[in-house]
């Protein structure tokens, strides 16, 4: 679906010997670097999501510099015309939405590129009605389930309790794309406390759960307005760009009108999964 928005003719063809193509959510992004060691770091970091045969939809040239100060601050994302500028203490990046090409200046660590990938994906997804959201997600019995909540609500716990027949897509940042009939959740390499990369699989999204720890396991219906409010609090907004915010806002509201949103009150025991799937 996103292919129409991603002019593949604008980017380099597949199998670039100086590049690593990382495909998340079905959107391949080519990361080019002349440094073989750094390419090795990328291949290791994104193992399971590297697809060198894919025709990239977007690309970044990575220029390595001397180690910069590690940074805990949020990245600053702003748009000038068609170009997005992404800055943090440890990197600077630019990305042109017309050509889908960009560059990144950073030291040889995977953390900066991880942030840039999240931001690039969120910008691409916003164009097609999808989003990244602070939520764990898992696939089970052919369907995907989202588990959103504030820090401490239980995203890691529910992921850790997942039964063997459930496939963890992520315990931290879920990837949601709009499809013709609904929505689809994809695995991501963006790991949280579990420090476990998600599986590179996808499934149609059946239910989005809002997590709340309690003394019993119970599922409650959530009204559309409350669902929209909750979802919007968890969606990743990297840029305070009016056009982008309006698109994501619209996407969230469309999502809650099409996907069941329920509150999952649960005690931290594996039996909670009897209510899921």
């Amino acid at each position: 679906m996103g292919a129409a928005l991603l002019p593949s003719a604008c980017v380099q063809s597949a199998r670039d010997p100086l590049g690593v193509t990382v495909e998340i959510g079905g959107i391949p992004i080519l990361l080019q670097s002349s440094d073989a060691n750094f390419r090795g770091i990328l291949e290791k970091r994104y193992a399971g999501f590297v697809n060198q045969a894919a025709v990239p939809a977007c690309q970044f040239k990575v220029y390595l510099e001397l180690p910069l100060q590690p940074s805990d601050e949020d990245a600053r994302v702003r748009r000038q015309g068609f170009v997005w500028h992404i800055d943090r203490g440890d990197f600077h990046a630019e990305w042109d939405t017309r050509t889908r090409r960009g560059w990144l200046r950073q030291s040889a660590n995977p953390y900066a590129i991880d942030t840039v990938l999240r931001i690039a994906h969120s910008l691409v997804l916003a164009e097609e009605g999808g989003f990244l959201i602070h939520a764990a997600s898992a696939a089970r019995r052919g369907c995907a389930f989202l588990f959103a909540g504030v820090s401490g609500a239980g995203k890691t716990t529910i992921s850790r309790l997942a039964p063997p027949d459930a496939t963890l897509l992520t315990d931290e940042v879920s990837y949601v794309r709009r499809t013709g009939a609904g929505y689809r959740a994809y695995g991501t390499p963006f790991a949280g406390e579990l420090a476990r990369v998600g599986a590179n699989v996808s499934a149609p999204l059946k239910t989005a759960f809002l997590l709340e720890q309690g003394c019993v396991n119970r599922v409650e219906k959530v009204e559309e307005l409350a669902a929209a409010r909750a979802l919007l609090r968890h969606i990743l907004f990297f840029a305070h760009d009016p056009g982008l915010v309006k698109r994501v806002f619209d996407s969230a509201l469309r999502f809650v009108s099409q996907v069941r949103v329920s509150r999952l009150i649960f005690k931290p025991e594996a039996s909670v999964w009897n209510l899921i799937g």
């Binding site: 307005l225 929209a228 409010r229 609090r233 309006k246 619209d250 509201l253």
Partner: protein
């Protein structure tokens, strides 16, 4: 009493769901939830209709409240939203170009 005019900022995304409204500031992504009464005022904030007229014709007509009670609350509400940059307040009518339409209304199923 000076007349006040109110208009929705263009820098917001909003949607009326049921009798309430959810508003998101496009400048800082903050969310605002408007009650049923606040939604009536928000929807009427076209920049051309004075706040007193909105209170008299909409709020008092739809809810069991007197103008002298409703107006101070309505003004306080408008000033609060203005502080967050999602509503404009002026002593004069506000050009329609500054107001906004609900987001996505035309494309949602």
């Amino acid at each position: 009493m000076n007349e006040k005019y109110i208009a929705r900022s263009r820098q917001v995304a909003y949607r009326v769901l049921g009798e309430e409204t959810i508003v998101m500031s496009a400048t800082d992504s903050r969310l605002f939830n408007l009650s049923e009464v606040a939604t009536v005022i928000w929807q009427a904030a076209d920049g051309r209709t004075s706040l007193s007229e909105i209170v008299n014709r909409r709020v008092c007509a739809e809810f069991d409240v007197l103008p002298q009670v409703a107006y101070p609350d309505a003004l306080a509400f408008a000033e609060e939203l203005a502080r967050h940059g999602i509503l404009h307040i002026s002593d004069r009518p506000i050009p329609v170009v500054e107001t906004s339409a609900p987001i996505g209304a035309a494309v949602n199923p």
